[in-house]
Structures are given as structure tokens and as C-alpha cells.
């Protein structure tokens, strides 16, 4: 009994591709894609499908309008804001530097959708707080971790890091994993020693 010599990278038909949890996987048949393209011909940029997941990329200034349209259109009704996050695309492309990723879910239609927009340093993304109360902390976290400014956010301050954190935004790709400097505990002169030793095995 031996295992097959070479294994396929990915099964030909993955069970994940046909769930329809994100609507039709053919972009042309997807109602959200069609309607957004009709309604925002200028802002609509592209649609990407991976596995069963449908991602719409729109222009940055129109993000709020698009999301509001997706939320209120009677055929779409993506009324649940699942998540807002960002991806630092520093190593993947030239510009813009970040992608802001909005995950939407329609409770009545039981479908998800992902909306993306690119943003560079110094640019502002329209905040979603006016349409989704739940965007408040999610956008604050984005600001905290990436330094993305959300225009129209009522209370944009750091949320997970201390308010006086002055070392930038840690989820950026150019932020070193261990931070920029050693943390010195107040009242102590030298930083806590960094443990660099090897693992010790218990003796015989």
C-alpha cells in the first residue's frame, strides 16, 4: 500500500466553488455586478471571482454611494455590514498602496459580497458610519492599524493601540514585526532582555 507519487495541486472541481453563497459565480449574471455597473458606470472598475467569492472594485470617492446603493436597492439589500478591513498592497503593486475591503451580507437574500477600493497614503476614504453604525469601530481599527483616514467618521481615534502611540501603524508591511524600538517599562532603566536562546531540552 503506497500513496500516489504525485498529488494534484488543487482538485479539478473544488467543492467550494459551487456554493452560490456569494451569488452566481459568473460575473455577468450577478445582479450586484450588473446593477452597480449600470448605476455607477464611472466608478465601477472590475469584478473578480475566486472560488465562489465575488469582489467588486470601485473608485474610492464613490465607495459610500456604492455601498449605500447595495444596501438600499430592493433587489440587492446588502443590509449587514460584516467587516471593514484593509490590505497593504506594498509588495504586490505600485499604486495605490492600500485596498479597503468591505464585506457585505444580505440577511434577506443570504448572499455575501465584497467591495474594494484602492487608497493611497494621504487620501481619504469616505466613511461608512453614516449608513452603518457598525462601521464605527471597524474603521477606527483600520485607521489604527493602517493609518487610513476615513472622511466623515465622527470619532476617528486609535482603538486597539494606546491613544499616544507614536510609532505608526503596525499592520503596514514596512512596519517591523517586533516594532521600531525596545519597550522600556517606566521605572526600569534597561529594556526587558530579548530572549534569543535556543530551546533547551530537559536533561536525561
Amino acid at each position: 500500500m503506497s500513496e500516489p507519487r504525485s498529488l494534484p495541486a488543487t482538485p479539478e472541481t473544488s467543492p467550494w466553488d459551487t456554493t452560490e453563497y456569494w451569488g452566481p459565480t459568473d460575473p455577468e449574471q450577478h445582479p450586484a455586478v450588473r446593477l452597480v455597473r449600470e448605476r455607477f458606470p464611472d466608478a465601477f472598475q472590475e469584478v473578480v471571482v475566486f472560488r465562489d467569492e465575488v469582489t467588486i472594485r470601485v473608485a474610492r470617492p464613490a465607495l459610500r454611494e456604492v455601498v449605500d446603493f447595495l444596501r438600499t436597492h430592493p433587489e440587492l439589500r446588502y443590509n449587514h455590514l460584516t467587516d471593514i478591513t484593509a490590505v497593504d498592497m506594498l509588495y504586490l503593486r505600485e499604486r495605490p498602496r492600500f485596498d479597503v475591503v468591505v464585506q457585505l451580507y444580505s440577511i434577506p437574500r443570504r448572499q455575501r459580497l465584497r467591495v474594494k477600493c484602492g487608497v493611497d497614503d494621504g487620501e481619504m476614504v469616505p466613511s461608512l458610519v453614516p449608513i452603518f453604525a457598525g462601521a464605527n469601530w471597524l474603521e477606527r481599527e483600520c485607521y489604527d492599524m493602517f493609518g487610513i483616514i476615513f472622511e466623515g467618521h465622527p470619532d476617528l481615534r486609535r482603538i486597539l493601540l494606546p491613544e499616544d502611540w507614536d510609532e505608526g501603524h503596525p499592520l503596514r508591511k514596512d512596519y517591523p514585526l517586533r516594532g521600531y524600538r525596545d519597550y522600556v517599562q517606566p521605572g526600569y532603566e534597561s529594556p526587558a532582555p530579548r530572549i534569543r536562546g535556543t530551546l533547551r531540552r530537559p536533561g536525561p
Binding site: I107, P130, F132, N136
Partner: protein
Amino acid sequence: MTVQVLVFWLLALVAILGALGVVAARNPIHSAIGLVLSFLNVAAIYLIARAEFLAVVQVIVYAGAVIVLVVFVTMLVHPDDLPEFHGRRPLRIATGLVLGLALLAEVSAAILAHGLRGTPGPWTDDTIAAVGGNTRALGQVLYSDFMLAIQLTALLLLAATIGAIALARPEAVSERLAAARRVMTISLAHPRGLDQPALPAALPEPQNGRVKEAGGGRPIVLARTADEFTEQPAWGEWRAR
């Protein structure tokens, strides 16, 4: 007798010291403590005079209730709202002096008129014992001879209570709360503007889900499929809040 006199002087001294503390202390709480001290010693003096009931009532009412309320209010008041104790206030000093002198004159006049021991009344040890203790005697006097005065006092206190409640205006708190709520809800992006009309009451339509009595007089709905209660929540008694 000598022991009693000694104890009396001691109690009187502490009572006066406490009273002085009330005036002298800067901290209002310390003043209140001084007042309690004074009251307790006065109660002890009553005890020496064999007026046990009066002594205990003095402790319950004055030390136990009145001063407790004074302390309560003092703790509630923000330190900035307390009157300034520093600096000279000529008007206040003058008023205090005049009132103090008037009181002194009054007490002196009383002492001069009747002597330090005062005039003995109808209630002696024997008459009190005949009635059956000073509690009983006090009750008899209060609720027969001074009935009218007692009732009037009670009426006055009731009126004062009602007046105090009216002055304190419980709705002041709710007004402030409503204002704060407006600020808070707006700032945190209240999903439904505060002034918007509430949605109409919508009782759960029995779709596929079954209603289960969960306890506490409260039903919960068990949804069987994923499609029910997504358009129309299982939400009853909207205005229950």
C-alpha cells in the same frame, strides 16, 4: 451624685467641643462628624437625666437620619459647588456675630429669669413612676395635651416633604439624560434618528417556526429554516421599552 456630675461635665465638654468643631472645620464632612459627636453627648446627658426614650430618639432621628442625610447630600455635591471658606466675607461675619449675640442674650435672659436649675414642672420621678415609665408619660403628654401641636407639626412636615419633592423636580434628571442621549446617539451614529417615529408594532407571524414558551412569561421562536424571520424579525411588543 459626684460621679454623675463628673460624667455630666465630661459629656457637656465633649458636646461643646463637637459643636465648636462644626463651626471650625473646613471640611463639611468633618463638620457633620462634629455635629454627630455633639448630638451623641447630648443624648448621653438625657440618659443621665433618666430620659431614656428621649435619648434614644435623639440618636435615631438626629444622629441616625438627619446628619446621615446631610452627609449624603454633601457627598453628592461637587466640591466646586461648595462655598468658599477662604477670604473675608464681612457681611457673613457681621450676620454671624449679630445672630450669635442674640442667641447668647436669649439664653442669658432665660438663665437670669429662672436660675440655672429652672422651674420644676408637674412631672416628678414619682408621677412618672405612677404612669409607668417616662416613655409612657411622654406619650401621654404628647398625644393628649399637645395633640394639636403634634398634628400641626406633622402637617407642616408633610407640606415640607411635598415641597421638597416638587423643588427637586425628578424630571430634571430625565431632561439631562435625554439631552445626553441625543448627543451620545448622534455621535455614535445612531442608526435611527432619535426623533424618527417608531416602527409600527409587528407581532411575529407564525411562519415555519414554532413558538416556545421559554419561561418568565416570554416566548421564543424556533426557526426551522434559514429563510424565515429574515425580512420580518420575530419581534413583538415593539414598544415594550
